[in-house]
């Protein structure tokens, strides 16, 4: 068991240990670098940065939402609203990117493991986000119906008052898909 270098603090042994430590750091660095490169290239290949944008074509990167995209292009809202105008909140930067991240995680998990429901559906929370955005743009036009829904008491300009706009107006943003 007796090993010479461990028995004393001779300079030669220290140098050897420094050399070994540097080698270890170099190898570790290479590993970290390869990992970062693999992640980075995969992210680049998957057009990851496009998801930070407001470009509607980013939403059809994986083709699952082709019908929804095609329907939007034929809808009356096409000229005024893109996907993010309706599908992410606009009250704060943080909230917007939190919802984007949550969607991104859920969608990529579903697409990678192929375990999502067909046809795709709005989640209850996403529905709230969309309805909030209806009111964000159409607040004046919807004031009276929201007032009535609120028991004829004053209602905040961005409060849907429990109304579900898209129950009736389902076709305004996604027109015919075929």
């Amino acid at each position: 068991m007796a090993e010479p270098e461990s028995t004393s603090q001779q300079p030669a042994t220290r140098r050897a240990r420094v050399a070994r430590a540097s080698l270890a750091v170099a190898v570790l660095g290479a590993l970290v670098g390869s990992f970062a490169a693999a992640v980075g290239y995969t992210a680049h290949y998957a057009s990851a940065t496009s998801y930070l944008s407001d470009d509607p074509t980013a939403c059809v990167n994986c083709h699952i939402m082709n019908e929804q995209y095609d329907g939007w292009r034929k809808s009356s809202h096409h000229a005024r609203a893109t996907c993010n105008d309706c599908h992410v909140p606009h009250d704060s930067f943080l909230h917007k990117y939190y919802v984007k991240a949550e969607h991104g995680y859920r969608h990529s998990k579903g697409f990678t493991f192929q375990d999502f429901h067909e046809p795709i559906r709005l989640t209850p929370y996403s529905r709230e986000v969309v309805i909030g955005n209806c009111v964000r743009c159409h607040d004046a036009m919807t004031q009276e119906i929201r007032l009535a829904a609120h028991g004829n008491t004053p209602v905040a300009h961005d409060d849907p008052a429990g109304l579900d706009c898209i129950h009736c107006h389902a076709g305004v943003a996604h027109g015919p898909t075929r």
Partner: protein, 518 residues
């Protein structure tokens, strides 16, 4: 432990450094592997979105074997083969209950029934009375998937015990090549390799079809080897949907020339606004969405064999409604057979799915047969049509939820409601028709003359045609719920009027026997 304690500090430090290094190496290595796996997954999805088909086998107008087409279109071929394993329709009309509650009828137990679909005559004995004197009273079974169409036809006692013409083959086999070969043998010009929709191709098809219609069924069925296959619906060159059945070409042209409004077939409405110089041709004029229904309408329709040539004919000259077809049959004085008990010259309805669908809200809204019965499916980023043609209730999410934003159980219960209502009233209609048949029989036996029975028989013909129309149609009213109940309502009315007519003749005898179901 003693060993560890005996180690010196430097040694322990070196050991823990190695451990840290190893853990880091394993962690980053594993991370890299996961990243590469993700890369591979994304790459696969991207590839899927680029390629929908790889052409391996050469396909042309002579390629009957679906396995050859399957080399190029494996997903479609898989679904096509699975029509042998179709889900049972949730609502089987002959017993009116979902399969799990169905009474066991004994079908499939005896030697003769082995491997066959359940007998409708066993589960609904009223049909034996209604079809008395006709082949359908001998053998009449539940529907099965496309895979069984040829075997079931060769195997049915209707064909074995009663001689049937080759015209039957029109809808139970892949017959395009067989017809064309027969056409070439009988003087048609060109070669089998000509495109079907060329002048020579169509000449071969029509000449062969006219010849095969008149053969005996045994001779005709020897010419074919497959149930309906790829080239019966698809152009081998472009894969476009196409019409291949001569009877449909004639039928749809006659329908187009009628005055019946057809808002669900916009290409016909458009053709009518033109100069009508050439007959309506679906292959030339129908849009893709229309073809997704018209392809099916080549077979899932009412028909009869016209004249000595046994020319397969669709009775659409006035329109697609039940009474328009009846009026056509009355005009040409057609009867499928003379009823053994009542002596009435009656009609047999044959799976009029296209006609009933045409009266419903789905047709009116532009929903095709394929939208529900062959919905789009996904495998990764690839989208394709499910070729396992079957009840939409087997995949409510793909068929219904694409448009109807309700839960599957809600949609299923809506369908059940429509079908239960239809079934309940159809039962009443069939009971009324059977009572009328027995009333006429008893009056005959008691000496009523043909002249005396004329009005009752006319009502029997009308009532039975209506009840059978909904019975033979394979959606239990779903394809057009209000139209179905209208037709059933008329059936009940005419049957009861008929019973009243008989009662007028010989009140005493009828009072003794009418209304008895035997």
């Amino acid at each position: 432990m003693t060993l560890n304690r005996s180690r010196r500090p430097g040694q322990r430090l070196a050991f823990s450094r190695v451990a840290v290094f190893a853990v880091a190496a394993i962690a980053f290595g594993a991370g890299t592997v996961v990243a590469m796996m993700l890369y591979e997954n994304i790459r696969t999805r991207k590839e899927e979105s680029r390629h929908t088909a790889v052409r391996i086998a050469a396909i042309d107008e002579t390629t009957i074997d679906p396995a050859e087409w399957g080399k190029n279109f494996p997903r479609q071929y898989d679904g096509y083969k699975r029509t042998a394993d179709n889900a049972k329709a949730r609502f089987r009309w002959s017993d009116g209950r979902p399969p799990e509650d169905a009474l066991h009828t004994g079908a499939g137990e005896s030697k003769a029934d082995e491997g066959k679909a359940e007998s409708k005559l066993e589960s609904n004995p009223r049909l034996k009375t209604m079809f008395k004197g006709y082949a359908f009273a001998i053998d009449y079974r539940e529907r099965r998937g496309h895979a069984f169409m040829l075997d079931d036809q060769r195997d049915t006692e209707r064909v074995k015990q009663r001689p049937q013409p080759g015209a039957c083959l029109n809808c139970h086999a892949s017959n395009v090549v067989a017809y064309r070969e027969a056409g070439l043998e009988h003087g048609a010009a060109g070669a089998l390799s000509d495109p079907l929709h060329s002048e020579t191709g169509l000449e071969q098809l029509f000449a062969g079809w006219e010849h095969v219609n008149q053969l005996s069924y045994a001779d005709a069925t020897a010419l074919v080897s497959h149930p309906v296959t790829c080239l019966d619906c698809h152009d081998p060159d472009s894969m476009r949907l196409r019409i291949t059945r001569p009877a449909f070409m004639e039928g749809i042209a006659a329908l187009a020339a009628s005055n019946e409004p057809l808002p669900h077939l916009p290409s016909i409405e458009k053709w009518r606004r033109g100069n009508r110089a050439t007959p309506y041709d679906a292959n030339e004029l129908a849009g893709r969405q229309e073809m997704r229904s018209l392809s099916c309408a080549q077979c899932h329709v009412e028909y009869y064999f016209k004249g000595d040539q046994k020319r397969l004919t669709f009775p659409w000259l006035r329109g697609l409604k039940m009474e328009q077809m009846e009026a056509y049959y009355d005009e040409v004085d057609w009867a499928d057979w003379t009823h053994a008990d009542s002596g009435t010259r009656v009609l047999k309805a044959q799976h009029p799915e296209f006609e009933l669908w045409s009266q419903g809200i789905h047709a009116r809204s532009g929903v095709s047969c394929a939208d529900c019965h062959m919905p789009y499916m996904r495998e990764g980023a690839m989208k394709f049509t499910d070729h396992q043609v079957q009840t939409p209730m087997a995949h409510v999410n793909l068929s219904c939820q694409t448009c109807h934003n309700y839960t599957e159980s809600e949609i299923q219960s809506r369908v059940d409601q429509i079908q239960s209502r239809t079934k309940a009233h159809l039962d009443r209609a069939e009971i009324a028709v059977v009572e009328l048949i027995l009333a006429i029989r008893d009056a005959r036996e008691a000496g009523a003359t043909d002249a005396e029975l004329q009005s009752a028989r006319a009502l029997h013909r009308k009532a039975q045609w209506r009840a059978d129309f909904i019975n033979a149609e394979n959606s239990m009213g779903f394809h057009a719920p209000a139209e179905s109940l209208r037709i059933i309502g008329e059936a009940i009315d005419y049957a009861r009027q008929g019973i009243a007519e008989v009662a007028k003749l010989r009140p005493k005898q009828v009072a003794a026997s009418g209304g008895r179901e035997g």
